[in-house]
């Protein structure tokens, strides 16, 4: 136990004193915040650039259909020929010219209408113009059928069904996605952590092999102790780094927004995620549905979520990092690791994609259940399901229990296999092993 502590301490200090680690720890938040500020700034800039479209309207059917919006404004030409209008829009540097000729009826006008521009116009602009004409056409056709504009406006109403659980708890539509998004955040965190610090574990094993100190050390401690100490020491360094990132990143972000005077809402407008829109404006209390969102977020069992996050995080990370350690032991240098790394990354990527596509829309569907039981994906997928709660209306208790049991069994199995490969691999030099060879090592 004493020796394990010594190893953990050494691995931790070796990591946090490493120059590139220190640089990354302090540079990353600056880069991240810099990028966010840049995006916010560009978004702001983008909004201020407007497209101007000239309209030459010779028909009687259009008057105020084209409304200036944030991104597009319209300028009406009067009493000039089409050629003159084209010339002037060109010289004024307008984005384009919409030509609405006169005609017997609206159908004919629509048929003969044209959009002129320097280059092929953007599809969003075209859609907007087409949309305006389309709605005018629909209105005209309805008028011919004897329905007034007022009646039409009344007819065209929004509808959203209200949903509730059997117990009568009112739910918000999209709250499942929102919850999965929060769980997804946790899952994503686990994946990033595994990839970054699993890689550190692997490189640290390779370093011990290439510096040839490994045999000196394992004549004093058991290879398993060394592997475990390395994994724990590296993860503690990782947690330190993550902690610094979160604290300094948040501080920097506030400072940056304050200095550059950027409203954080700029970002949430462009992002369509309910996660950002929900809590940011939910507290204003103006919109009852937003209040409900806020309530739902507060209702998420955070204590439970964080405890299970820790359980899945620790088990998942130990499983993956012991595989990383075994890979590091099996090879002589980092370039040889490629063929082994890919099969590890695959389930992680799969978990994230399955999570975002399948679990978001149906957190308790068969795919979501399957992947939240499969041990290599469960740490990520189960966390996406958990914000919905446990038991009634959430993840059934048996699934959660089964998932953790499978994970623990896998953990023991994988660590056992990995430590066998590790034990043999660290003393093997000069050859790049195949999978077949690794399998043989298990029997040594």
């Amino acid at each position: 136990m004493d020796k394990l502590f010594l190893i953990i301490k050494r691995e931790y200090l070796a990591k946090v004193r490493n120059k590139s680690f220190v640089v990354m720890t302090f540079l990353s938040p600056i880069l991240m915040v810099g990028m966010i500020v840049l995006i916010a700034y560009l978004t702001k800039l983008n909004d201020s650039e407007k497209r101007v479209i000239g309209i030459l309207n010779e028909s009687d059917y259009f008057s105020n259909e084209f409304v200036t919006t944030e991104s597009t404004s319209y300028v009406n030409f009067k009493d000039i020929s089409l050629e003159e209008a084209k010339d002037s829009t060109m010289h004024l540097g307008y984005y384009g010219l919409l030509y609405l000729p006169n005609g017997e009826n609206l159908e004919e006008v629509a048929q003969r209408a044209f959009f002129y521009s320097e280059e092929a116009p953007s599809s969003s602009t075209l859609e907007r113009v087409e949309g305006s004409i389309k709605s005018r056409l629909r209105q005209e056709r309805l008028r011919l059928l004897g329905i007034s504009a007022a009646e039409y406006a009344e007819m065209d109403s929004d509808y959203e069904i209200k949903i509730s659980t059997y117990q009568g708890l009112q739910n918000m539509k999209g709250i499942n996605e929102l919850k999965a998004f929060i769980g997804g955040g946790f899952g994503y965190l686990i994946m990033m952590f595994i990839i970054i610090y699993g890689g550190f574990v692997m490189r640290s094993v390779i370093e011990e092999k290439t510096s040839r100190i490994i045999e000196v050390i394992i004549s004093s401690v058991k290879p398993f102790q060394l592997m475990l100490g390395k994994i724990i020491g590296t993860s503690l360094a990782g947690i330190t780094q993550f902690g610094i990132w979160i604290v300094s990143g948040t501080l920097l972000l506030f400072v940056a927004f304050f200095i550059f005077n950027i409203d954080p809402a700029v970002l949430s407008q462009s992002g369509s995620s309910p996660m950002v829109a929900g809590p940011a404006s939910g507290m204003s209390g103006l919109d009852p549905s937003l209040q409900l969102y806020a309530q739902e977020i507060l209702d998420i069992p955070w204590g439970m979520l964080v405890s299970f996050f820790l359980v899945y995080f620790i088990l998942g990370y130990l499983i993956y990092s012991s595989i990383y350690a075994a890979i590091g032991a099996a090879v002589d240098n980092e370039t040889d690791t490629q063929q082994f790394i890919f099969p590890i990354i695959l389930p992680l990527m799969l978990a994230i994609y399955v999570g975002f596509f399948s679990v978001f829309s149906n957190p308790h569907g068969p795919i979501a259940v399957g992947f939240s039981l499969f041990p290599l994906t469960s740490p990520i997928v189960m966390l996406m399901r958990l914000p919905g709660g446990i038991g009634e209306g959430g993840v059934p208790i048996w699934q959660l229990a089964l998932s953790i049991v499978i994970l623990i069994i896998t953990f023991i199995g994988i660590v056992w296999l990995a430590s066998k490969i590790y034990r043999v691999g660290i003393l093997m030099y000069g050859k790049k092993p195949s999978y077949k060879e690794l399998f043989k090592w298990l029997k040594y």
Binding site: A14, E215, V216, S220, K222, L427, K443
Partner: protein, 312 residues
């Protein structure tokens, strides 16, 4: 005889490859013991078993009469063939770390390190990183961390490969000094001539089997072939050679350019050199008269050959 370490019928295989087959050894306390044999014979596997890095499939190893256990690690010092140190770690910190892994307390390790650093004249390296040191300096550190915890048994695998000649000599002297202080030392090497002069006992390992072991002087006695190398001076070397050929079994001879000096090697029947010496004394001036003692390498080759004959 007081035995510090013994192996009893130790076997180990890796997949289809047999690394050790029924190896039995006894290493006397306070001796220098040579574990000799070509590359791939199984020496390193045996050493790793002694260090509890790997475990035998069959057989057992005893230290001081007790079966090997984790607690024994602190009594053994091991310098592996594949050796190195953490490159980006400071010398002092690293030495302390390795000493503590061997079970020393920090204070004790610090005290002993100070002693060794002074002894090998490396006082001011404490805060230097290994990558800043020359190879020879790093080798000294490597040696110190091997012996720092004052093990009763020291194992050196290919000790002098990679050491420059000056350091090799320093370390040879230190090893001899350690032995005088009661340490038992095992040398493992395929370059037999490099340790032959140091070893009192040897074991020859070939193709995972021990083919010969025992006290080196006794083995040499058993393997000597009663061949003598003689150099004499005579006014008539040709006549002398003809005369000698009549009386003895001459294996080879060579005549010097000056026409007076003669060298030849003689195979004697039963180790009785008296008759030859008397013959030479009456007919010529003897310059040298040496019995050919086989080197470990010669013994090794003839042991393999005789074993091959036995196996038919």
């Amino acid at each position: 005889m007081d035995i510090i370490l013994s192996a009893e019928k130790v076997s180990k295989s890796f997949g289809d490859h047999t690394a050790l087959k029924n190896v039995t050894l006894e290493i006397p306390r306070n001796s220098i013991y040579g574990l000799l044999g070509p590359n791939g014979a199984g020496k390193t596997t045996l050493i790793r078993i002694i260090n509890q890095i790997t475990y035998p499939d069959k057989g057992q190893v005893f230290l001081n009469g007790e079966p090997l256990q984790a607690e024994h690690i602190r009594h053994i010092g091991y310098l592996p063939e594949e050796r190195g140190l953490y490159k980006s770690m400071k010398v002092g910190e690293q030495a302390l770390y390795l000493a503590q892994l061997k079970g020393m307390t920090k204070a004790d390790a610090k005290k002993k390190l100070k002693y060794w650093f002074e002894r090998l004249e490396i006082g001011d390296w404490w805060n230097k990183k290994i990558q800043e040191l020359s190879k020879g300096m790093a080798q000294k550190i490597q040696f110190i961390v091997t012996v720092l915890h004052e093990p009763k048994l020291l194992i050196f695998d290919e000790p002098f490969s990679g050491f420059d000649p000056i350091n090799a000599n320093i370390i040879k002297d230190e090893i001899l000094r350690l032995r005088e202080n009661g340490t038992t030392i095992i040398f493992s090497t395929h370059r037999m001539e490099s340790v032959e002069e140091l070893c009192e006992y040897i074991a020859l390992i070939h193709k995972s089997e021990k083919i010969l072991d025992g006290k080196l002087s006794a083995i040499k006695k058993a393997y000597k072939k009663n061949i003598f190398e003689v150099v004499v001076e005579s006014s008539d070397p040709k006549g002398l050679l003809a005369h000698a050929t009549d009386k003895f079994h001459i294996l080879s001879s060579n005549m010097a350019d000056d026409g007076r000096e003669l060298g030849f090697s003689v195979q004697l029947g039963n180790g009785d050199s008296k008759e030859l010496f008397q013959f030479l004394g009456t007919h010529a001036n003897v310059h040298s008269f040496v019995e050919t003692i086989p080197s470990a390498n010669d013994i090794f080759i003839s042991a393999i050959n005789s074993k091959g004959q036995l196996h038919g």
